[in-house]
Symmetry: C2
Subunit: 439 residues, 2 copies
Amino acid sequence: MSQVDTLIHARWLIPVEPDNTVLEHHALAIEDGRIVDILPSDEASAKYSAHTEKRLDSHALIPGLVNAHTHASMSLMRGMSDDLPLMEWLQDHIWPAEAKWVSPEFVHDGTEMAIAEMLKSGTTCFHEMYFFPDTVARVASQSGMRACVGIIVIDFPTAWASDIDEYFRKGIVVHDQFRNNSLISTSFAPHAPYTVSDEPLSRIATYAEELDIPIHIHVHEIEDEVTRAVAETGKRPLQRLQELGLVSPRLIAVHMTQLVDEEIEMMAESGGHVVHCPQSNLKLASGFSPVAKLMQAGVNVALGTDGAASNNDLDMFAEMQTAALLAKAVAGDATALPAAQALRMATLNGARALGLEQEIGSLEVGKAADITAVDLGQLSTQPVYHPISQLVYAAGREQVSDVWVAGRHLLKQGQLTSLDEASIITRASSWREKMSDFD
Amino acid sequence: MSQVDTLIHARWLIPVEPDNTVLEHHALAIEDGRIVDILPSDEASAKYSAHTEKRLDSHALIPGLVNAHTHASMSLMRGMSDDLPLMEWLQDHIWPAEAKWVSPEFVHDGTEMAIAEMLKSGTTCFHEMYFFPDTVARVASQSGMRACVGIIVIDFPTAWASDIDEYFRKGIVVHDQFRNNSLISTSFAPHAPYTVSDEPLSRIATYAEELDIPIHIHVHEIEDEVTRAVAETGKRPLQRLQELGLVSPRLIAVHMTQLVDEEIEMMAESGGHVVHCPQSNLKLASGFSPVAKLMQAGVNVALGTDGAASNNDLDMFAEMQTAALLAKAVAGDATALPAAQALRMATLNGARALGLEQEIGSLEVGKAADITAVDLGQLSTQPVYHPISQLVYAAGREQVSDVWVAGRHLLKQGQLTSLDEASIITRASSWREKMSDFD
């Protein structure tokens, strides 16, 4: 008998790679935070002696979900100002609130709340864009959560930095500080083409190459963004990004609801990635991203919730379902984006976008043990004809029972092990009291 | 002190009528299954002595949700055949499975499962269209659930009836049998314009008038339905229904994704109702219903999940959220269908469509005590700036803690009191085993 740290037996194991595969009555062995074996349960019991052994008789094990675009601490603004158009929402509500309230304490409390919500709903890695990335990285690392933290760059001064040089200086310190932390990676996060000018964008193209990290940016979120850019510069934003050297396999272009066929081709040829945020796009009436077309063209499309101020949750199960449903309606084809593809978007495609596909995104021997267990034995997913269908079209976040990140058991039968949920809720409530007076 | 059966104190009470109103720290008194008072909590404690008193300190009380279109027992086919277009899905999968399996036992077990799922997710009344409506009515009544049961009529023979006359004969027996049951009402449920010919449709127009009940029919679900009808009859289906006398305040037209402006006007003038089923429409790529336009024109729009075979759940919280998000994207206006309107669609508008607006759909003195309690104290709806926003955009079905139908406490801290959940799951599983062999 070989000794391993953890052996998890599950009714179904859905590795994502190979695609559309469901293993029944299999077990997964973890040693030093990595998956060291996947094999039939009975063989596993004969082969391994485990420090911890867990049997999940009505559950599916899937790779931990990868939320490829969010603004974690905006959770503190969840529902603060709904039912408004993007620009009014940003300019009259979100930005003034941020100018007044965003601080290391705000980001600390908001990020803890977001991580708690993400873990409870099966997400094990998030791709962040917000101020005080140093705090985000610290909170994620302390919670045992995996994160790719965006080094925010924006033309105007904020509580985090007063000018472009300071954004770069402080951001690169964050990168260097966490470069040996196995849970934390970084990306450059220029906010959007309309808020970052050419010079810093060019610098980002160069620095991203030198530091070997991705570039995380909102692109073509709404029609108005594109038409204004054309009026002011004669160019569509994506073309401008290309001319500045940003359209490459490093590019993680978020939203992309406004795309002509040539741009889809350009993305496919460049090897750049798209993050689809369907619920945010619907809520802000931003437009419909042509997801089926992008995928057909060979573009890697990942999935993100966006911030909880425009979603209004960080629930990747809801996001998978919305993505799968909406893609069919937009393509006018009920066979578009089938369940297995939606699950892949929410896992391996996210890992690829972040450059982490060797490490996470599928349940494979050698990868980190980032794992989510979903109880399909509950009424709402009964009966189970096809587990992947049930995961995408019927399962809810509340069916997530257990979550491991790098082998660490961060959610145990619905209970967080590294975060204090009651304290998080209390602090969220105090922020609301302060911010309501303002709003 | 007056004596009442039940007194429920809640952090928030959202009556739906008056519109967009949130009462804080209020209580609701129930006597003989009806709401007899709504008043501030402290006054309630001084005024009433209650047999049962409940304090819900982090909850919102809302009217029980009304699912205005479903096929309850299709829950047993949840996820059986996904990712297919409507006609292939119906003709090659659903209809053959139904031909082989649908029976009183199937409908009994499927309806129990559906009612269990609906109660657990806050729905207190459903509008049904399926075979064996006698069984549906009996199961609903036994479970304490409110239902409007469709008297199915369809041109082809099924296990329930062999010809049109038998559909009518057996259906009217169901109507008469349950006419004095306060939980059960009936509607005529001709399946769709393309499956029911002129003669039975005309008869339905007459009989519905005589029995004073609504007409429940799928209309303009997909483009192909309309273009085929035009090719075959020279008329769009809605026009044919109008000529046959079905477009009236009795009409409950389900789906309605294909509508020209004149049809929206016709619906508004007629006083007919629309049931929007956004998740089913997306999943089957049926098209986008112009919900904001319909409501602007003054049409009463209710909300339905459709059957769990095309959704794949009976979760009205998810449906409200999808309706609110999708309407904005379809209208190209982020202010379309705000949260309070979505909640109204899922409650009072459904009651109006079913002709039950004097009885249910809002928390008002004199109405039946059909009530849902939602715990907003959970992480996923924190912090609470605006309770209605949290209910529509962030709350999940799992936050429903308690449900009353006609004053009877059918869900008690998440536990069903009138149905045996374990037995329902076991039976669903046996149906899957039988039906998988077939599929």
